[in-house]
Symmetry: C2
Subunit: 292 residues, 2 copies
């Protein structure tokens, strides 16, 4: 097989990847070739544009390290992450809605006792976060691992300021009590631009888009016998709820930040200054029959 032209090459590549022994690899490879070639045929890139695309992808990969995942940002900002999330969570059956993982999760965060201040003394407005974890039928889930992570009051995550902080902060694993409850102290997160000093930032600028996400706290909740829940709780009233750069906002995930005067907090802590509280009751589903 030789002498391929723009009419014959797609089938030639499809025939070649059809040799994959694994059926799923074959299916994904063929779909990739069809859609990728259809895209190229539609936009008819010049050689210079092809070189620019190669350069963009290369820089996106090279921007990635243990603190930065530029390809996740690309997936997020093109709506692919939320699309994949939606496809994988069609039947929520009363469970809490999901949203994107984002690029800032760190595996196996340190376990903090309930009621801890997970901000490690960071400057910011105090925030009391509490909630419950239950199965969709209402049964409280004791010992569920509640991983939380969020930005500081300037919109930066710990991993973006490791040199200044010297370690992780504003992230923890909490274990629910016998009634499926958890609570912790931290500082109020802010809306923030996703890291935009790389290729994805340049893309957003070229597309006339702002890089902001509304303020939120990330949650990943593992409980035995249930699907892991990856979601955020968004703060009501944020300017960017309707234009989240990663398309991740759902009304069901928005909660009011409740202001409190100084005094005794819900967990008995005596607060010498104003603080806010944020609460969310999570519901986790059991694996669906087809995936069980």
């Amino acid at each position: 097989m030789r002498n391929f032209d723009e009419n014959s090459i797609t089938q030639a590549v499809l025939d070649r990847v059809a040799r994959a022994s694994d059926a799923r690899t074959r299916q994904v490879s063929q779909a990739l070739v069809r859609h990728l070639h259809a895209f190229v045929k539609e936009v008819e890139p010049s050689m210079q544009e092809w070189e620019a695309a190669i350069g963009f992808l290369t820089q996106t990969g090279q921007m990635c390290d243990d603190k930065r995942q530029e390809f996740i940002l690309l997936s997020d900002t093109l709506g692919v992450s939320m699309l994949v999330d939606a496809i994988n969570h069609r039947d929520m059956a009363g469970a809490t809605d999901t949203t994107v993982l984002g690029p800032f999760y760190v595996q196996n965060p340190a376990v903090f006792p309930l009621g801890s201040d997970i901000s490690d003394g960071m400057k910011g407005q105090p925030l009391f976060v509490s909630g419950t974890v239950a199965s969709t039928d209402g049964t409280p889930l004791a010992g569920a691992a509640v991983d939380v992570w969020h930005s500081d009051g300037d919109g930066y995550y710990d991993v973006q300021q490791m040199e200044e902080l010297g370690g992780l902060s504003m992230r923890a694993r909490l274990l629910t009590d016998a009634d499926g409850r958890f609570h912790f102290w931290t500082i109020k997160p802010a809306a923030y631009p996703i890291p935009h000093d790389g290729p994805v930032g340049k893309m957003l600028e070229a597309q006339g888009r702002h890089p902001y996400r509304p303020a939120h706290v990330h949650f990943m909740i593992h409980a035995e016998g249930h699907d892991t829940l990856v979601t955020h709780v968004f703060i009501a009233g944020d300017d960017y709820l309707d234009s989240d750069v990663v398309f991740g906002v759902k009304d069901s995930l928005i909660r009011e930040l409740v202001p409190h005067p100084p005094g005794e907090a819900p967990d008995g802590r005596l607060m010498g200054r104003d603080y806010h509280s944020l609460a969310y009751d999570f519901r986790l589903k059991r694996p669906s029959a087809s995936a069980a």
Copy 2:
């Protein structure tokens, strides 16, 4: 805009990228979103498969350095490079056919006088390469810059063995004489596997494909008032002409390797051993009216 699901998110992303002020950026962004989302909707990746895709792209970028371009290999092996090449060379009007650039070109190679041995004493079977450069109307093109590069007899390029070689080899720029002629000595290239110790090699293996390209010499020819020609000359009889991993072979680019006994070579050099010769007459076109 919020609460996107798999039915509504594509239009939401299209609306967002429609803000691009540059019309071409808008067109390419919208086409990318449509085709990328269509691919995702067709294959319905699991969260683990999405993570694997992010990992594959990240590793592909991180494999790239000044001697290795893994994203070009990916484009080549998925037939995208030849498709883009075909789209950009529809009206060849008697000019030499084009093929892929490949990942081993080095900008601005050293200029060698005609008749030089560009292999810098590398071990291998001697090869005399000659040819002419002319315009499609037959007018010889004097002073054309003929950039050549090729593998050694084991199938490796200089940039793949810089530590052992200590510098570049088997690549040069030659300038055609008053009659548009060029000739040089080198060693016979071999068929070779593209670098397959990275993500693209793993992809080929999963797709049941071999990583080989048939033996060839790369040419990039610049001549004033003409389109730059990027092509190869393939060696007739090679085992991989019909299964080139990058889909680059065209019959018009295949030439016989002519064996010669020891004695006086075409350029007067006295050869004490057998050698081969390879010849090609290139034709370059003037820019088409629409691109002028």
